[in-house]
């Protein structure tokens, strides 16, 4: 019974005993080892490339986040400073003095389409845009009503000035894609009235910076509010519209330096 087995074992040993067969076996094993090593290396490189890609995207997002945050913080700061300017806050402040103060502030702010002082009821008291004064605007369109001392950011509004959201009369025509992001700061004048300073941030200032930062990259970017609403900036390479997430992915504390808006870069 064991004879055929012995014969097979002996013939196998004899086959292995031949040097050429041994070389073949070693060769097969060696090539297998090489293939395993190559696969492991490729996998490792892929993981490293992914890690680098994520790190690079995170770095780009930090740059974009920093620019977006600085833009809106500077707008808030400018409004805060204007809200304590005698030309704007004093009881005797007339619209012409207010307008001069707004124009002076606007000269140094290269990301604002314009500035305006609006009454709580929506009447534009003074504006850097000619023809805006005395127009009544829909306050709901510039974001939630701010209380004195508070700054509030609105969503993207189509148009070039506050006349595009006027209540009466036809809104001022603007080419498609032209819009602004309103930042409002409420304050109380010396006469006791609540007034709103409104800064009209030019979204193109954000998208232009994003475009330049990502020009040679394969990434896409979007600026979003904490509520998850993307600010669709026409002309930019933004792939998303509307709401990006239901709950805020980060709080003011956890989002590095972003007091206004988190910015995302995706590879």
């Amino acid at each position: 019974m064991s004879r055929p087995k012995d014969t097979a074992a002996r013939s196998l040993l004899a086959w292995f005993a031949q040097p050429s067969h041994l070389v073949l076996l070693v060769g097969v094993l060696a090539s297998l080892a090489v293939w395993v090593a190559i696969v492991a290396l490729v996998f490792n490189d892929f993981r490293a490339a992914m890690r680098n890609n994520h790190a690079h995207a995170a770095m780009l997002a930090r740059i974009l986040e920093d620019q977006a945050t600085r833009t809106f913080e500077t707008a808030e700061l400018a409004l805060d400073a204007l809200a304590s300017s005698p030309a704007v806050v004093s009881a005797s402040a007339d619209p012409r003095r207010m307008e001069d103060a707004l124009k002076q502030a606007l000269a140094g702010l290269t990301f604002l389409r314009g500035l305006a002082v609006v009454e709580a009821g929506g009447r534009v008291v003074a504006s850097t845009f000619p023809g805006d004064a005395e127009v009544f605007i829909d306050m709901a369109r510039i974001g939630p009503q701010a209380v004195p001392g508070q700054s509030v950011l609105g969503g993207w509004v189509a148009g070039r000035s506050l006349q595009s959201i006027r209540m009466n009369g036809s809104p001022q025509p603007a080419p498609p894609g032209v819009g602004f992001i309103p930042v409002q700061h409420a304050f109380r004048s010396e006469a006791g009235n609540t007034l709103h300073l409104v800064a009209l941030v030019n979204p193109d200032a954000l998208s232009n910076f994003q475009r330049l930062t990502l020009e040679a990259e394969t990434f896409e970017s979007v600026v979003a509010s904490y509520g998850g609403r993307s600010w669709q900036v026409p002309g930019s390479r933004l792939p998303w519209r509307g709401r990006l997430w239901d709950a805020s992915p980060c709080s003011r504390r956890t989002c590095r330096g972003a007091s206004t808006a988190p910015t995302w870069a995706r590879g």
């Binding site: 389409r113 070039r160 080419p175 894609g177 032209v178 030019n202 193109d204 998208s207 330049l212």
Partner: protein
């Protein structure tokens, strides 16, 4: 090269050769007095600038220090550079005079020259009819069309045809030749005149204009230095304007001096070389 800068002086000697009555003599006397007065003052129109430059060995050159590629003061180093900085230095060498730069601008150019704040304006001045009425110009040494500059991400203006459309805001620098040209040519868009301290670049970045119009030198330099800028070229010549140097009217000798300088730099290659160094070779008038 030394240039003769002499002035012609009319002969003030006036003699009455015919017999005349007392009244006629009185009238002639008055006429003679007028001729003598005019004779004394006529040389003042013949070459006061040339005389002053020769006497002081200093030529005061009006420049606009914001003109990229032409007469540009670097904001950090404060060093002046550009084709007309090089050519004004060449003018100083030719006249054996020291060059003194006087800051000017297109809106103040006519007043600066006519009020003798400078002897010659050398900053690629467009030879507009309005300017030629009030100033004397040399032969042109450059020429330029009008170009649009917008941001790379701007969706309103993508091509030349998008500029003259309803609701589009087109910026022009106050006092530049684009102001009257665009004022006349824009039918649907709104022209926004940008006055200092505002700048066209800042107005564009802020979205207060959608595009601003400029000339070849400014557009090229802007494209070299501002990575956000995008050039919008006219598909065919839109409004080509020759550029020359301007002097105050009434001093023909001084104009001839500057004109001969322009002819020399064209001939000896200094214009071509300076234009090449400043990226303006394409618009040189040979």
């Amino acid at each position: 090269m030394d240039l003769p800068m002499t002035r012609s002086t009319p002969d003030p000697r006036v003699r009455c050769t015919s017999p005349c009555s007392m009244a006629a003599g009185l009238l002639r006397g008055l006429a003679t007095a007028w001729v003598l007065w005019a004779g004394c003052h006529a040389p003042a129109l013949a070459g006061p600038v040339a005389d002053r430059v020769q006497a002081a060995a200093t030529v005061r050159v009006c420049i606009w220090p914001d003109y990229y590629g032409v007469t540009y003061r670097h904001p950090r180093t404060q060093a002046l550079a550009g084709i007309d900085i090089e050519l004004s230095a060449a003018l100083g060498q030719d006249l054996k005079a020291r060059v003194e730069y006087v800051e000017s601008s297109f809106p103040t150019l006519i007043e600066d020259l006519n009020q003798d704040r400078c002897d010659v304006a050398m900053f690629a001045i467009g030879m507009l009819a309005q300017r030629m009425e009030k100033l004397a110009f040399t032969e042109p040494y450059m020429k330029s069309d009008i170009y649009g500059i917008t941001t790379k991400s701007n969706t309103v203006v993508r091509q030349w045809a998008d500029i003259d459309q309803p609701g589009v805001l087109v910026g022009v620098q106050a006092g530049t030749f684009m102001e009257p040209v665009m004022g006349e040519r824009l039918k649907k868009a709104t022209m926004v005149t940008v006055k200092p301290p505002a700048t066209r670049e800042r107005e564009l970045m802020a979205g207060r204009v959608d595009v601003f119009m400029t000339d070849y030198p400014y557009s090229r330099r802007l494209l070299d230095n501002a990575d956000w800028a995008r050039l919008v070229e006219p598909p065919q010549p839109f409004s080509v304007l020759p550029y020359g140097y301007a002097v105050k009217k009434g001093d023909e000798r001084w104009l001839a001096t500057i004109d001969s300088f322009v002819a020399r730099i064209k001939r000896d290659g200094r214009l071509r070389d300076a234009a090449g160094r400043n990226g303006l070779a394409a618009i040189v008038v040979r």
